[in-house]
């Protein structure tokens, strides 16, 4: 059983600042918004004219996972849900991110940072349904 009670404010702020710096650097040097679902989506359709850029960004993301294995191995853990639940979760995350034009990074970080009302609405919406889902799963004894 995981321990859900560890609040890690310092690590959270450090990591958050790194995420903000990375999003800013990407914007400065490429003019792109660091929305992971959109980048992945474009990568999956090789006809996109900026495919190479997306591929390399994603490669960097994967490489960071390897870096974390060395620098902070506790960061990488096994999923805590069953394969069946993860299948459904993945489908919903993928579908919803495209229908809603963004995910936690594109809407939650980048969108809110540029005062986008769309992104604020999207972020509040997915937080609300996320909270509802987790609450329901707990009540139904899924954890």
């Amino acid at each position: 059983m995981q321990d859900f009670t560890h609040f890690t404010p310092v690590a959270a702020l450090e990591g958050g600042a790194l995420i903000g710096l990375a999003a800013s650097g990407l914007l400065f040097f490429t003019g792109r918004v660091a929305g992971i679902s959109g980048i992945l989506d474009g990568f999956l359709r090789p006809s996109a004219r900026d495919w190479g850029w997306r591929a390399i960004f994603l490669a960097g993301l994967l490489a960071s996972g390897a870096g974390l294995l060395v620098l902070r191995p506790t960061a990488l853990v096994e999923p805590i849900r069953s394969l069946g639940v993860l299948t459904v979760a993945g489908l919903l995350v993928g579908f919803g991110s495209r229908m809603g034009s963004g995910c936690t990074s594109g809407h939650g970080v980048c969108g809110i940072s540029r005062f986008s009302l769309r992104s604020l609405v999207a972020t509040l919406t997915f937080m609300a349904t996320g909270i509802a889902t987790v609450t329901l799963v707990r009540i139904l004894g899924g954890r």
């Binding site: 990591g15 994603l58 960097g60 870096g67 853990v77 936690t104 999207a122």
Partner: protein
């Protein structure tokens, strides 16, 4: 070349940030979303808040500078990670307001359910992929499938934008129909 090097650098910095912040641990994500469980973990709010606190002023500064730079010298802000051309939204708050439409809200709602079920959003899932655990492979594969399904079902028809709130043609061009987007630009120019 500089563009590709930046993509590599900032892609890995982004992933490191996700890992350091704890967001690659689904338990912490679910701990945040479990608002009423009695052991709420507010870390995710600080991650997002920290990222916004850094990115907001820098992005504001960058956009202000872009507005005063001749358009030929700008890095072209085209369709982006957010996939609906957020760069084009700058300064058109009225158009933005109109674009809060059912598609956005329903999509975000579906995303949230998946997020709460698995404890993963796309970034952390990709960072965790190096572990090659069956669970994360299954999640990422079905996430890609979900994206593909959306495109399959939505087709090329921009009719899912309500006509009352339909933004100018250059914006309606569906982001995944690259050709139409380019064509629109050409005819407008």
């Amino acid at each position: 070349m500089r563009r590709l090097a930046s993509a590599a650098l900032f892609g890995s910095m982004f992933g490191l940030g996700l890992g350091v912040s704890g967001m690659t641990q689904p338990g912490k994500v679910i701990g945040f979303l479990d608002l009423f469980g009695g052991h709420w973990d507010p870390s995710l709010a600080l991650v997002m808040g920290g990222a916004i606190a850094v990115h907001m002023p820098l992005a504001w500064w960058w956009r202000r500078r872009m507005r005063t730079t001749p358009s030929t010298e700008r890095p072209q802000p085209t369709e982006t990670g957010q996939d609906d051309g957020p760069e084009g939204d700058v300064g058109t708050s009225r158009a933005l307001f109109a674009r809060v439409n059912p598609r956005l809200v329903v999509g975000a709602a579906i995303f949230g359910v998946g997020w709460g079920l698995g404890g993963y959003c796309p970034g952390p899932a990709l960072v965790t992929l190096v572990g090659f655990s069956p669970g994360i492979l299954v999640f990422v594969a079905s996430m890609m499938m979900g994206m593909w399904l959306f495109h399959l079902l939505s087709g090329r028809d921009p009719a899912d934008l309500p006509s009352s709130s339909r933004p100018p043609a250059s914006v309606t061009a569906l982001p995944w129909v690259r050709g139409s987007e380019k064509d629109t630009r050409k005819t407008e120019a």
